[in-house]
């Protein structure tokens, strides 16, 4: 049995699907880095991704254009997070409760919208997903080419966004302002930075990324929509952000770790190998807790994490 595992073709397909499965975790995690850096914990990512998945699928199905699907997912993801921003910034509501509400509401709304648009059908409507885009030359390299350069375009874009996100947060004034309102909103306010403006933007950007990830699931991975399409990936993304201590490149490694765990489990199952893979699936969550233990004391959390800001309060 073990000889089935340690073949080149098994390893290649394992690593290739690691990258594919990391994508829908990486994308929302990158978005949540903005949100959490600005001091807001949005637990509603799961619901936002479900909304993005249904919106992306519907737009792509109706228009016949996959890119419109991605845009639709991004737009509705943003719209959904507008509620989160309003609740957490304007209403100063508790973020945990608001996020929980938006998850329940998001699951319901997505299922309802799908039902209203598509009705009850014996076979779920499907679309042709994004094709595999083999990068010229690089994609022809044996082994490495198959692992890294034979994916659909959304996968490449997600990994390019790691660099983009890092650049925006570390090298632009916008990124500095986001971090400022997360670290010391009062000082930021005194400097003339609009705290609520920056926090709204940070939550909405998180929504755009999460919506795109939802669309990736429905039109770049599954090519259909089901109610359980996200199945916990939104929560995983939230934990990846904390695991990564709010840094994009570490978030990429975190997403790859989760991707690897689920890819390994799928591959082994396909081979009919019975091992206690539950412990493998558990591992990333345990590691998140361990990372949390390691990081919390070092005060790597934004100082104003989950704290609403009000000029009236001291």
């Amino acid at each position: 049995m073990l000889s089935n595992i340690f073949t080149v073709s098994f390893l290649v397909s394992l690593l290739a699907s690691t990258i594919r499965l990391a994508t829908p975790i990486l994308l929302p995690a990158l978005g949540q880095i903005y949100t959490q850096r600005a001091g807001i914990l949005n637990l509603g990512v799961e619901g936002t991704m479900t909304i993005g998945a249904v919106a992306g699928f519907t737009c792509a199905y109706m228009s016949g254009n996959l890119w419109l699907g991605v845009l639709g997912g991004m737009f509705f993801g943003m719209l959904w997070c507008l509620i989160m921003a309003w609740l957490s910034v304007t209403m100063k509501a508790n973020q945990v409760i608001a996020g929980t509400a938006l998850n329940i509401l998001g699951a319901g709304t997505a299922a309802y919208a799908y039902r209203v648009v598509f009705g009850i059908q014996s076979l779920p409507p499907q679309i042709d997903p994004f094709p595999t885009l083999k990068i010229p030359l690089l994609g022809d390299i044996p082994v490495l080419g198959t692992i890294f350069f034979q994916h659909n375009i959304l996968v490449y874009l997600a990994f390019i966004l790691v660099v983009v996100t890092w650049f925006i947060l570390e090298k632009t004034i916008f990124g500095l302002k986001i971090k400022a309102v997360g670290e010391h909103p009062r000082a930021a306010d005194a400097k003339g930075i609009s705290v609520s403006g920056m926090r709204y933007s940070a939550v909405l950007i998180g929504g755009i990324y999460a919506g795109a990830a939802g669309a990736f699931m429905s039109i770049g991975y599954m090519n259909l929509f089901t109610e359980a399409i996200i199945s916990g990936r939104g929560f995983i993304a939230v934990s990846v952000v904390i695991f990564a201590r709010f840094l994009p490149v570490r978030a990429m490694w975190g997403a790859l770790l989760f991707g690897f765990a689920s890819a390994l489990q799928m591959r082994l199952q396909a081979q009919g190998i019975e091992i206690a893979n539950q412990f493998m699936l558990m591992l990333p969550y345990v590691m998140t807790i361990l990372a949390l233990i390691g990081s919390s004391k070092k005060a790597e959390f934004p100082s104003a994490y989950t704290k609403p800001y009000s000029r009236l309060e001291r």
Binding site: A93, A111, V286
Partner: protein, 347 residues
Amino acid sequence: MPRQFKNIINQILMAVLTIALALLIGAVLIAISGNEPIEAYKTLIAGAFGSKQRFSETMVKTIPLMMMALGTSIAFKAQLWNIGGDGQFIFGAILSIIVGLYSGFPAFLVLPVSMVFAIIGGGLWAGLAGWLKVKFNANEVITTLMLNYVASYFLSFLVYGPLKDPKGFDFPQTEMLSEEVQLPLFATGIRVHAGLFIGIAALIIMIFFWKSTFGFKIDLIGQGDPISRYAGINVKKTIVITMMLSGAFAGLAGWNEVYGVQYRLLDGLVSGYGNLAVVIALLGGLHPVGICISAFFFSALLTGGATMQRMTEIPYSIVDIIQGLVIVFIITRTAFKWKGGRRIHAK
């Protein structure tokens, strides 16, 4: 006293308004989906209360939901955001089934001992998150959430592996509890069971709990750190104990599900009760009686919603939407009265 009375009336009025508004929006959505809202709600009510069986189903759901929401309310009062009810439920269920299947105790001992084990299981699982919070400053929202996944994979490991029923045709579930240790049913043909009395007992205990010194300490901690430190409370110790108490109730709900409904462990035992417990605890204003009423309301909504989905074209997702709307309205309302009195939910 009259002022307190007015307060209670106010709270009830607000809760009713919240639900009415959510149901109204639900009605609009039902109409948009091309169905009759009034007919839909009639089916829903009939589905929850229409016959002895259906009413019994509503009660069967009310018990664990109320237990879990009572637990959630303990943590929330202290401003500890324990959202790991599902994981604590699972650990309660696991420890209690081990007593029932493998301890070899006589039947009359199994029920009480397994209940104690369930309470310990849920309590320790939540206490772990509390300990991580006071020891390492680890955010309890994230740890309880992560521990949910760990618990549910552990459950799945057990029912696929060491605890799998050898004669169970390879289904991922444990052996069945023998009949003499199952909680007795009220009548044949319906599923409501003696766990109801345990639920009522839990409710009464909670009412008195908030009048006790420890209940008052929890309340003080929820008001903010300085106040409780001035009052000389050991905050760290209280946080861990509060989390343990909170989880104990979820563990009890797990015991109730195993000994009263399923009679065994199976994969996917819990199905989102933890989330619902949050909604119920908030709608009930974190008050035991309020929680009891809103647990009953939500289980009627779930049972009725399931019937509605079976009998009509109306999607079950309406029920989810109504739940979500209820929380959104509650937190908006809390935020609105923020300037007036003391805040309950907002931190």
